[in-house]
């Protein structure tokens, strides 16, 4: 009976925020006004509670198949366990079929949702962080004229994100993939009167669309290859994947690389990461939720979800790892020199996402490691959501009190003025830097461990070694820039910008409480679920993941990363608290390197020059072509009869003799012609 309840209950997880969004969109301004956040929070709370039910029932039940027809799938999957691909088949914890969305020919797409272990984790993360951020935003956005609009879009986002993770087929995934992009667009451009916000929103959407283009093609390829888009039909049939991979591997490669392009767009991987830092134009809660904790991790989720496909294309996995590595390193380098607090965090997000992809890519080490690698990525995703959210919200709190000033050069020493924010930021920063025993530490360790396993790979061992080194360097840089930001903001002499007014204040309780909760999670969640393998064991229940090996703690890795993290923090302390002169000298010594980093490696400019400009030029060219070639050609064709007429006009001279002459001449010519024709 409980399960029957959950079948409908599952729909409530996205449904409640959707209802909230609809209510707010329709009656927000007239009816709810300043109470809009309550509607939103209520909706998300319902989602969160139901998500927790799903999470815990998953913990107990394991493969509890509810929906009809699942027995078959499961039966098939059981029958293939002998193939040695591992625990395959794709049965859900909960599954519920909605309505038939599309049915064209062989193509049947239903609005069906399912929840399994991976979904449950994602759902819980999403709804929990959303709830906290929504509470925070209730205080942060207070007094904004677009208050109801903000929470409408916010709720819509939560709905879309829940549906994204609940989707039971690739098309639905794509639908909500784009829908979260849409919400992101609306929220980045929330302050649409600012040209920079409008531009950033557009940029985010268009760059995402480039990724979606790949994703869409990937879906097409899945359809032509598998003849279905349902997870059961694709991911749930490892035997089929294996057969296809054996005979025409290019199909699997194509699918995986195309899907990854989609993930690159959404998860801001190099070189499609350019939109994410600009997205900071949106309100800070949005940055915290969408552009740090949830939406940007959709790519990671998708690749993780498609592990059954990826394990058959190691080359693609290596590509993923490489791009992840490059992203992690490049973003970390850029983050070193930014003075905009939110931008530092944004680049840090990009860098951490790179980490996650590094982990996913390291699954190339072999099918038996795949689960470990995926677990590492998902674990990092999980912990990252908390500590990045707390960092962003703290930054928001700083902004709120500094009168929307975010340039770290203009304020400092806020430690005493904003003790709560300071504490929470510190907690987040420590977690991000990978301070031992905090959440970031455990997840990062897992990733580095996965990488070090991958270095044993026979073909790509060397490459993975390089990536392993990159990961360590990035970890060092992460610790450094995080604490650079921390020290610049909270230490040193107290300085306030004039915008802040006379009395910079601590965050109001509505903002402080969620901060504290998040900080608490950042500090402890890793320790609770990490070393206890709670997380790993839970995630393993995700259908479709290959059987994992033994879990054990990697003491060596932990040691190295501890050293790295402390080293980074120490360096930052030395540079920014110890003596300020030294770092400037360093920067000067680095010269062009420093400038490159500060200017984000000129990637935006390169994009502009290589893509935007040529396309704009081409567009102008099209217009000119229309105007001067096609239209001229048409005018020409149109003019031909006229010219013809003008040429012949002298014949019509009004003189009878000349008429007679032409008539007679015509007759003679015709007679001659005909004579020749008939006689000849």
């Amino acid at each position: 009976m409980f399960e029957n309840f959950m079948e409908t209950g599952l729909w409530l997880i996205p449904g409640a925020p959707l209802l909230a969004a609809a209510l707010l969109a329709l009656f927000g301004k007239a009816f709810f006004g300043e109470r809009s956040h309550q509607v939103c929070i209520a909706g998300i709370t319902v989602s969160l509670l139901l998500s927790l039910i799903v999470l815990f029932s998953g913990m107990k039940g394991g493969h509890a198949s509810v929906s009809h027809g699942d027995e078959n799938v499961e039966a098939v999957s059981q029958s293939h366990t002998t193939l040695g691909v591992g625990d395959n088949g794709l049965s859900a914890i909960y599954k519920s079929n909605g309505y038939e969305w599309l049915h064209v020919g062989d193509l049947r797409i239903g609005v069906d949702i399912r929840a399994d272990a991976m979904t449950a984790i994602m759902l819980t993360t999403v709804t929990l962080v959303s709830l906290l951020v929504a509470i925070f935003a209730g205080g942060y956005m207070h007094g904004d004229p677009g208050y109801p609009r903000f929470f409408a879009a916010f709720s819509l986002f939560v709905f879309s994100m829940c549906m994204l993770v609940l989707a039971n087929n690739f098309l639905l995934l794509f639908v909500f993939w784009e829908a979260v992009g849409l919400c992101s667009y609306l929220l980045i451009g929330f302050w649409f009167t600012r040209p920079s916000a409008a531009a950033a929103a557009k940029k985010a959407f268009v760059v995402n669309r480039i990724g979606d283009f790949g994703f869409l093609l990937g879906i097409f390829l899945i359809w032509t290859t598998f003849g279905t888009l349902d997870y059961e039909g694709v991911l749930g049939r490892p035997d089929l994947i294996a057969r296809i991979a054996a005979t025409s591997p290019e199909l699997i490669y194509g699918i995986t690389i195309l899907l990854f392009i989609g993930a690159m767009g959404k998860s801001a991987q190099f070189p499609l990461h350019v939109w994410l830092p600009d997205a900071m134009e949106g309100p800070t809660p949005v940055s915290a939720l969408i552009h740090a904790a949830t939406m940007v991790t959709a790519g990671v989720y998708m690749v993780a979800r498609c592990t059954p496909l990826y394990i058959h294309s190691p080359e693609v996995q290596v590509t993923i790892a490489t791009i992840g590595g490059i992203t992690a390193l490049v973003a970390a380098l850029i983050a070193l020199t930014q003075f905009d607090l939110k931008r530092v965090l944004a680049y840090s997000t990009v860098s951490q996402l790179g980490f996650m992809f590094l982990a996913l890519g390291s699954a190339a080490a072999g099918a038996e490691f795949a689960t470990f690698a995926v677990t590492a990525a998902m674990f990092h995703l999980f912990t990252h959501a908390f500590f990045k959210a707390v960092l962003f919200l703290s930054a928001g709190s700083v902004m709120h009190s500094m009168g929307d000033v975010i340039d770290m050069r203009r304020f400092g020493g806020l430690k005493r003025v904003m003790p709560t924010t300071h504490g929470c930021f510190l907690a987040g920063a420590l977690a991000l830097a990978g301070f031992p025993l905090l959440s970031g530490f455990w997840s990062k360790d897992d990733i580095i461990a996965a990488l070090s396993q991958a270095t044993h790979h026979e073909t790509y061992g060397t490459l993975f070694f390089v990536l392993w080194c990159i990961a360590l360097i990035t970890a060092l840089l992460t610790a450094f820039y995080t604490f650079r930001a921390y020290f610049l903001t909270f230490h040193g002499p107290e300085r306030f910008p004039p915008e802040a007014g006379h009395h910079p204040h601590e965050a109001p309780p509505a903002m402080a409480q969620p901060l504290r909760v998040l900080a608490f999670f950042s500090l402890t969640i890793g320790l609770i679920v990490g070393p206890t393998t709670l997380f790993a064991h839970y995630l393993e229940k995700t259908p479709g993941l290959p059987a994992a090996g033994e879990h054990h703690l990697h003491w060596d890795v932990m040691l190295i990363s501890t050293v790295v993290a402390l080293g980074g923090i120490g360096l930052a302390y030395a540079a920014y608290v110890g003596s300020r002169v030294q770092i400037t000298a360093w920067a000067n010594r680095m010269g062009s390197m420093y400038r490159w980093s500060q200017e984000r490696f000129y990637l935006d400019e390169i994009f502009f020059a290589l893509l935007v400009l040529p396309l704009r030029g081409l567009a102008q060219l099209c217009l000119l072509f229309d105007r001067y070639v096609i239209d001229r050609l048409l005018d020409f064709i149109g003019a031909v009869p006229r010219w013809f007429g003008r040429g012949l006009q002298p014949l019509q001279n009004g003189l009878v003799p000349s008429y007679l002459l032409v008539m007679f001449g015509g007759l003679i010519v015709m007679v001659l012609l005909m004579m020749q024709a008939w006689a000849g």
Binding site: G105, A242, T247
Partner: protein, 578 residues
Amino acid sequence: MIFLPAVGAVLLMIFRSSETSVSRWTALWVSLATLGLSLTLAAHDASNMNQQGGVSRASTQQNPVQPRLGFRHTWLDFSESHANKNIPVAERYGRGLKLEFYLGLDGISILMVLLTSLLTVSAILISWESVRERVTEYYVCLLILETGLLGAFCAFDLVLFYIFFEFTLIPLFFLVGIWGGAQRRYAATRFFIYTLSGSLVTLLGLVMLIIQTNQQIPLSNPFSLPELSRALAENPMHVSMQVTLFLALSAGFMIKVPLVPFHTWLPLAHVEAPTAGSVLLAGVLLKLGTVGFLRLALPLLPDACIQVGVPLIATLSTIGIIYGALGALAQNDIKRLVAYSSISHLGFCMLGLFALNAAGISGSILQMLNHGLSTGALFLLVGMIYERYHTRQLTELGGLAQKIPLISVAMIFICFASMGVPGLNGFVGEFLSLLGMFEAHPIYAVIGASGVILGAWYLLTLLQRGFFGPVKIPPHTEHVPDIQLREAIAVLPLAVLCLWIGVYPSPVMKTIEPDVNGLVRQFERDRTTLFENQNREATAQAVSKEIQSQRHQHGASAHAVTQIPVGAARSSDRDIVR
């Protein structure tokens, strides 16, 4: 139903009233009545379908084209001319040549009829105040145009289709020419001559088609589309003949659609036309071209479609998608931008059509509908903006979201629908079209899909420049009202439909399913894929309860199957040479 607007128009013409409001209300009521009638028909059809059960219907349809409701009336019977005594009676028999007044409804026409009648209501509402001169004539033109459009969608006689097809030129010519912008005369003339030239070639093609068929297969009525399509499906024409015919028929349709490079009349006509004209032109009139392909080229000339249609049309429409999008990107005039976006959207439409499979064709039909709704709504909104600020130049506008928030919200919504954001209608059509094409010829779909990126780009640029950022409006337009109730009524149904089709497209799909299946069958005759067999096999095994006994067998088969032309085999390699 078709002639209801015409009757209204005639009444208006006869009792021309100096009181303009009378004309307005009459036109509105007539168009509403038409809408009501078409809704009734659609509902009737839907209930019929439900009674018979969609699947069984789909399988019973034998002809590539078969209306569900029909009205036939012999119009001009040429067969009597064959009472020539020199021809023996036996030979005379079955060589009839009858023009028929043959109207019918199938799924495609139901959708198009609904779209037309809905957009006409919107068009009348939007011109309520913007048209102040020669009001009666204006509504007469609109109603006559509606008649022509409805007729073309319902015609099941080749010549009748052509008649309505061409007839629509006349009222639109007046609409653009009389109530248009500064360059209206040039635009109207160019539009008229250009499309007429193309359609004359089409007429020639039709004549060719009929005569050739008639000489080959004795038919009681070669003008009747269902009969002709059945005859040709059983007894196809020679391929080279088909190709010639296809090219001739396409000439008019390609201009009408319009495919690049035959598109230049469109932006001009759109920019100069009054709002209502643009709405109907973009929303419905362009569909005459695609419906032409769908109705005539696909069922009657299947081999030519495969041999010439796919490479030619698919290439052109792919170019059109990119070209139109780039053209839109470079525009400063909102209306021109939307016009170019039409070219791009119609490219998707044609791409899907020439995928020649169920997904593609359904997607294409849906895309026709979608484009009608979203572009129609876009033009409505652009018209509202123009009415308020008397400019459409993006350089002169900015930050409208602060000045006219509700119109801006509508604009944003429709832009998203137009660029194919999932959950709204545009996505479904584009997705299916591209999916269909990908199945058939991946390369076109890949290039075409990049239009999705460009689509987002130009529409968001439009939003960014016109609606966001600091306020910038022409002087003396400080206090303009936001959306009026009348305008809201014009736009709202379109927006609601956009959302509805995006969220729940199944009813639309069900409506066209039998027709699409009928069409597709002739393209799929020889298309079997190993993969489908596998699929079937796998499903069978899944359903089977004897899994234990099959385990080893299946395990073995996984290794035994050495060649799997998965995917590749799904392309339509039909043996063309006969």
